[in-house]
């Protein structure tokens, strides 16, 4: 049985790995070198990393407290909120982009409000950030919630009897103990934001993030022009993802 299962699983792994490797190895070093000299490619990759990092930062500030509340308290509507958090995972991301556009677009309520302080979301970096935030937030909130749930509430109570305010108990006990989960959720969310295309393309075709640039190259010039860009996106995302995982793993121990 072990053998049969291994073969079945192996097929799936090959299905994922083969195309990725083929893409990388069918591209010559010269092509790669020429592509990375292209300021548009470099700009797009940099922007993608940057925008996703900002989105992740916003989610850390707002999503971690939410995750803590969900892990520690029962309140009416909790199931509904939990469903709401998972919603971005199941809706088509282009639909998410349209929905965001309705609220954050020039005629949208929040779009108008932010417009007054000079922040606009259509065809701009803030638009990319909210698109990424919308679709990748569940990864961080869910990981943080699981992390907090795994922390025994007794430990926080013990901290309280030792003189800790609720905030001090959170900061000195719950947070450090859930740190690993939060960190892995952060990395996951950030990586998910990097790869977002559907929601971003609706709100902001320009400035171009890497997936949009790749799409444009493919549409306008064809496969051979798109391929080296794809390789760079693959390599950089994978590289940073692995580096962060390694750092998080070491610090968690």
């Amino acid at each position: 049985m072990k053998l049969a299962f291994g073969l079945l699983g192996g097929c799936l792994l090959a299905f994922v790995l083969w195309p990725l490797l083929q893409t990388v190895f069918s591209t010559s070093p010269q092509e790669l070198w020429a592509t990375i000299q292209d300021p548009q490619v470099r700009g797009a990759i940099g922007l993608t990393f940057y925008a996703s990092a900002i989105a992740t930062g916003i989610a850390l500030l707002t999503g971690v407290p939410l995750a803590y509340l969900l892990a520690r308290h029962d309140f009416p509507g909790k199931g509904f909120i939990q469903g709401l958090i998972d919603l971005p995972i199941v809706v088509p991301h282009t639909a998410a982009g349209i929905a965001l556009l309705l609220v954050f677009g020039r005629q949208g309520l929040l779009g108008k409000a932010f417009g007054k302080v000079g922040i606009r979301f259509v065809s701009s970096v803030p638009g990319i950030v909210i698109a990424m935030l919308f679709v990748s937030m569940p990864f961080l909130v869910n990981a943080a919630r699981e992390g907090f749930s795994a922390v025994d509430e007794r430990l926080e109570q013990a901290a309280r009897t030792l003189g800790a305010s609720p905030w001090a108990a959170f900061r000195r006990v719950a947070l450090p103990l859930a740190k690993r989960s939060i960190l892995s959720g952060t990395i996951l969310m950030w990586a998910r934001g990097l790869s977002e295309f559907g929601a971003v393309v609706i709100l902001a075709y320009h400035p171009m993030v890497a997936p949009v640039l790749l799409y444009e190259r493919f549409e306008s010039y064809g496969l051979s022009y798109a391929r080296p860009v794809a390789v760079w996106i693959l390599l950089t995302s994978l590289g940073v993802f692995l580096a962060l995982r390694a750092v998080a793993g070491r610090r968690g121990r």
């Binding site: 430990l155 109570q157 901290a159 309280r160 009897t161 030792l162 003189g163 800790a164 305010s165 006990v173």
Partner: protein
């Protein structure tokens, strides 16, 4: 450190469908009160309420005369040693003990001095740099005690502090608790289901049954004159004796009778024999290591797989025997029998 007087006035606490009602208790400054009750009697709930982790529906909690009922736990300065210890797994032993001191922003030198001092008192100095995961149950218990006591709490709450330990460690820690109480005299509220523990440590015992206080008194009063049949049932079927140990520590005298013991104590003491350690026979068993006493069967009570036979020597002894032995011996009330138990099976304290 001297504890403050603690008083609970007609406290009522609700937790789901369970309720503590009419809890009226007072412990003098530096006193040691044991709350004795079976599992599910509401003992932990009561401690949580005193610690401030739960709000009572009614009643007041007074510490040193001040009403602390609505104070949050961090403002009460009441130490709480949890049943599962609740040590912080991400901190070393040192940092666990220092946790409360750090919150109080103690200067570094003072902090180290106090953590070391408390660790020394509990004999865990060598463990200070270690992590929590590597500690044994007894060591964890000491760390939890040190973590609470280092803050000089006005009162100390102990939730089944000995129940998770093996018998040898339990006796050792019982002694530690006694010495700590003597040295630091905090006001202690100690919760247990173990009558022996209550007798050994408590100046006073409060019996808690199904959310209500059934009796409050000295251990001897509770044992000798149970206020209700329920208390009698709960503390009964246990051989607890209040008597005197001979100067050489070899003999225990109670009700004019005596039996052999092995003890380092002498003078007034308690002795306990487990019902399972007592044999019942129709003729005397001759053995130098055994006590053999004659008495009359005054009660036979079947409980689960065991049968509890009460024999009046006097004093009253209760032996636990199997159903097979019961039918083999054809025991009946009023029969004369012999009970025997090893001198080493008697726990003197």
């Amino acid at each position: 450190m001297i504890g403050a007087p603690l008083a609970l006035e007609v406290l009522e606490v609700q937790a789901g469908a369970f309720r503590l009602v009419g809890i009226d208790l007072a412990v003098r400054a530096g006193g040691y009160l044991v709350i004795l009750g079976p599992t599910g009697a509401g003992k932990t709930l009561l401690l949580e309420t005193v610690a401030g982790l739960r709000r009572p529906r009614r009643g007041r909690i007074l510490l040193d005369g001040a009403d602390i009922t609505s104070l949050p736990p961090e403002k009460r300065n009441i130490g709480y040693v949890f049943q599962d210890y609740a040590l912080f797994p991400h901190l070393s032993v040192f940092e666990n003990i220092a946790f409360g001191l750090r919150l109080r922003r103690l200067p570094r030198g003072e902090l180290v001095r106090r953590v070391r001092g408390m660790a020394q008192l509990l004999g865990i100095e060598k463990l200070l740099p270690r992590g929590i995961e590597s500690l044994s149950g007894g060591e964890r218990q000491r760390v939890a005690l040190a973590r609470a006591l280092v803050l000089s709490p006005r009162a100390l709450l102990l939730d089944e502090p000995l129940s998770a330990l093996d018998p040898a460690r339990r006796r050792e820690l019982q002694q530690v608790l006694k010495e700590l109480h003597r040295a630091l005299s905090p006001t202690v509220l100690h919760v247990t289901h173990d009558f022996e523990e209550a007798v050994a440590l408590g100046e006073e015992v409060a019996v808690l049954l199904r959310g209500k206080l059934a009796q409050v008194g000295t251990p001897e009063e509770v044992f000798r004159r149970p206020a209700t049949p329920e208390v009698a049932e709960f503390v009964g079927a246990r051989n607890v004796f209040f008597g005197e140990v001979s100067p050489d520590g070899r003999r225990f005298k109670v009700d004019g009778k005596g039996f052999e013991v092995v003890s380092e104590l002498s003078g007034p003491a308690h002795a306990v024999v487990r019902p399972e350690d007592i044999l019942v026979s129709l003729s005397p068993i001759a053995s130098s290591a055994r006590n053999c006493l004659r008495g009359k069967v005054v009660g036979i009570e079947e409980r689960g797989p065991l049968v509890y036979v009460t024999v009046n020597v006097p004093p009253l002894f209760t032996a636990a025997i199997t159903r097979e032995s019961l039918s083999e011996l054809r025991l009946q009330e009023g029969m004369e029998v012999y009970i025997s138990f090893k001198a080493s099976a008697v726990h003197v304290f």
